[in-house]
Amino acid sequence: MAPRLVACTKCSTPLPPALYNTGELRPCPSCRVGLQIEVFPAVLRPPGPGSVGEKVVMDGEATCFFHATKRAVVPCDSCGRFLCAVCDVEMNGEHLCSTCIESGRKKGRMQKLESKRTLYDNLALAMALIPMIIVWPTIITAPITLYIAIRHWNAPSSVVPRTRWRFVVAIILALLQMGGWVAVFCGVLFSKSHH
């Protein structure tokens, strides 16, 4: 069995229950560093035995869609396929198969499975701001910034609350940069035509 006692995060010494839930920093018995440990009842839960799925013993019993020799225990709440205990994944009270979870994750329909998101608003803002340091690249980056901001305006942003101010600032900066370049070219053409 893996060690279940809460250990010191510095010296890895298992800590006695007397140090749990004291509400204050207490020295580690081994390295003397101050520790506050709050332990919750989940630590008392024994590790689950896991399941291998029951084999079909009688003809006519429903079998798992993925394992023809295993007995079905539940249908997938998304696609309706019969699942054995191995294939059944319970999430938020729903029973799902691995295929539905994978497709849901890819399409971004299951927010709780998402582990990464691209922040297009930050990308657009960086694209608008960083090239301004040496000015010249803005002739190329300003239209790219505008494209990114418009193309991804409605794309899912962070899962935590976030407004679109970065997109707005990026668009304004890109338009100003493009306007500036148009003014420069018009000025050059105008001065050439006068000469």
Binding site: P17, N21, P41, A42, K112, L119, S158
Partner: protein, 180 residues
Amino acid sequence: MARTPNPYTKLGGRGIRRVAFGVSATRCRLWLGEDHLLAVDATMTSEEYRRFYFRDIEAFVIRRTVRRQVMNWLLGFLAVITAGPFTAAYFSERSVGFLFAALGCGLFWLVCILFNTLLGATCQTHIRTAAQIEQLPSLVRVPAARKALARLQPLIVAAQGQATLEEFASAPWIAMERTR
């Protein structure tokens, strides 16, 4: 179409996690969801999420560190090397300008030391589930970590119930490990 309200509320504290052997870093923040704690690691263009469900959190460990003292010593050193030459110049030249420069530099670093001291003791915070022990780099001050814990505790208790110290002490796996 009405927009669904975002289920997350901000939990205090912010910090950085060094990645790629300290060359790079991500900004870390914690958010409270309906049934989980969300740790967000953000780079300039993306965010990574780690979810700790209230029903799975086994322990929360705050470990005091000496970073505050180290930072205060460092700030004091900066005060000496910036204000020191102006002070020396004042004593040799007797010019009020040097005195003001020395006072300005000294006062600036003194305010930094005061601010660092008032923020509270520094710490490292770890959260433990059955599958992992994860550091929470956004909780680097003891008062902030305790504040976050005070907000988390009722939610975890609501999800898991409460256990007494006797229950922890009499758990069979604890007795087993003690006899090892």
